[in-house]
């Protein structure tokens, strides 16, 4: 990873961001948490690695990443948000990452990106990116967000044992992408558009446009080991909850759970 290029380019933008690079680390979220334990005041800090050996998703689900192929990073960001607004960071991060990728591949009509509730990015209906947010000091006005992102960039070998269809930018486009370029665009977009975090309604509205879920029949699991239920995804409410109509016609809001698009 060319961190010298990255640092130099970020310096040019005027964004104040510390980049801490590891050739290899277990998980950037874990590294970020350890870093925060030593430096509680850390802000605008990017933990970056080329080889995440034990990347994790929700509930410590393994996220395998081919060494040197993908983007795996965690942004430590302090934000003054109320408890009701914390979910916006989820939607903001996925929306920014989606926008960044869409911009980069604007001329390639074969690359169909889509947001999946609550914060996944799909490429041609396969999982491309995962985001895992962690928060520690929820009771304080200024909260420290640990924003972990993983994007499959140049990976071409995938773990077939995983239940989900997984893909990468290279697998779908046939071309190698520069990880530094994607990360740089993401950082620029992330720091430029933070105004959206102050307008949750607008953010959710924008997010919904990039998601294709409304009106679709989906399978929904409340918990990872739950039996999936069929429902119609009606909407995403302004607070980010998923509004589902079950088979009995009852509409309910969900703040947690997992969806699979029915075929």
């Amino acid at each position: 990873m060319n961190t010298a290029f990255l640092k130099n380019e970020i310096l040019k933008t005027g964004i104040s961001l510390d980049i801490i690079y590891f050739e290899e680390t277990e998980s950037t979220n874990l590294t970020a948490k350890n870093f925060l334990a030593e430096n509680p005041s850390a802000d605008n800090t990017l933990i970056l690695t080329s080889n995440q050996t034990a990347g994790k998703g929700r509930f410590d689900r393994k996220w395998y990443s081919e060494p040197g192929a993908n983007l795996t990073f965690t942004l430590i960001k302090k934000l003054n948000l109320s408890v009701d607004e914390i979910q916006l960071v989820n939607f903001y991060t996925s929306y920014i990452l989606y926008t960044t990728l869409k911009e980069i591949f604007i001329s390639n009509k074969e690359m169909n990106f889509m947001l999946k509730w609550p914060n996944d990015i799909l490429l041609n209906n396969k999982k491309l990116s995962g985001i895992l947010l962690e928060l520690k000091n929820i009771e304080t006005p200024v909260k420290t967000f640990i924003i972990g992102c993983g994007v499959n960039v140049n990976q071409t070998v995938f773990d077939k044992s995983l239940p989900q269809n997984i893909t990468s930018l290279k697998y779908e486009s046939g071309l190698k992408s520069e990880r530094e370029t994607i990360l740089l665009s993401f950082i620029k977009n992330f720091f430029e558009k933070t105004g959206l975090l102050k307008d949750g309604k607008e953010l959710i509205r924008n997010w919904k446009i990039c998601s294709d879920i409304a009106g679709k029949k989906i399978m929904f699991k409340k918990f990872s080991d739950d039996i999936p239920e069929t429902a119609i995804a009606e909407d995403i409410s302004p607070d980010g909850a998923l509004c589902l109509r079950n088979e009995k016609g009852i509409l309910k809001k969900y703040y947690s759970g997992e969806i699979t698009l029915s075929v």
Binding site: R58, V83, N90, E134, L135, K136, G240
Partner: protein
């Protein structure tokens, strides 16, 4: 003495809006003591907060739920008198309650365990945002009020901690 919820609510309200920090009533062989020390203590935090008496999920259809409920009503007076040291940890948000970082991992805390200020008690997850809930006090876990992987409402009590 009839220890019904409304009666207790009234007593709490009186205590909360007064300058009295503690009072005790003895009547027909029952004894109730309510106190209001400086920290966030049950029976003193918010005038209308009755959450301590609603420690169970609002809908109690399951057998375990009704058993718990019975137990709560039959709570001996000693427990009531002890309650001044009990700190209630409430959920700061709507989400799912998890006792451990992953399904296979050991729970962060269990009943009887001593926790210190800043210890992680649980995770409340909502939309893939994992919130580590930390203890604000040093003390012993007296009760875990929610089952693992169950949805929780805003302000729903999660733990009772006996302050050291």
């Amino acid at each position: 003495m009839k220890l019904d919820l409304n009666y207790l609510k009234k007593l709490i309200k009186i205590l909360d809006t007064s300058n009295i920090s503690e009072f005790e009533i003895q009547e027909e062989g029952s004894r109730l003591r309510l106190s209001k020390p400086k920290n966030k203590i049950i029976a003193s935090s918010q005038p209308y907060d009755t959450s301590f008496f609603n420690t169970l999920p609002p809908v109690k259809n399951t057998n375990t739920g009704s058993e718990e409920e019975t137990r709560l009503h039959e709570m001996p007076q000693t427990e009531v008198t002890k309650s001044s040291k009990l700190i209630e940890v409430n959920s700061p948000m709507v989400g799912t309650f998890y006792r451990s970082p992953s399904p296979d991992a050991d729970p962060y805390v269990s009943v009887g365990k001593t926790v210190s200020e800043g210890s992680i008690l649980c995770i409340i997850e909502a939309m893939k945002l994992m919130n580590e809930i930390e203890s604000e006090v040093t003390g012993k876990i007296v009760k875990i009020l929610v089952e693992n992987a169950q949805p929780v409402e805003y302000n729903q009590p999660l733990f009772l901690i006996e302050k050291e």
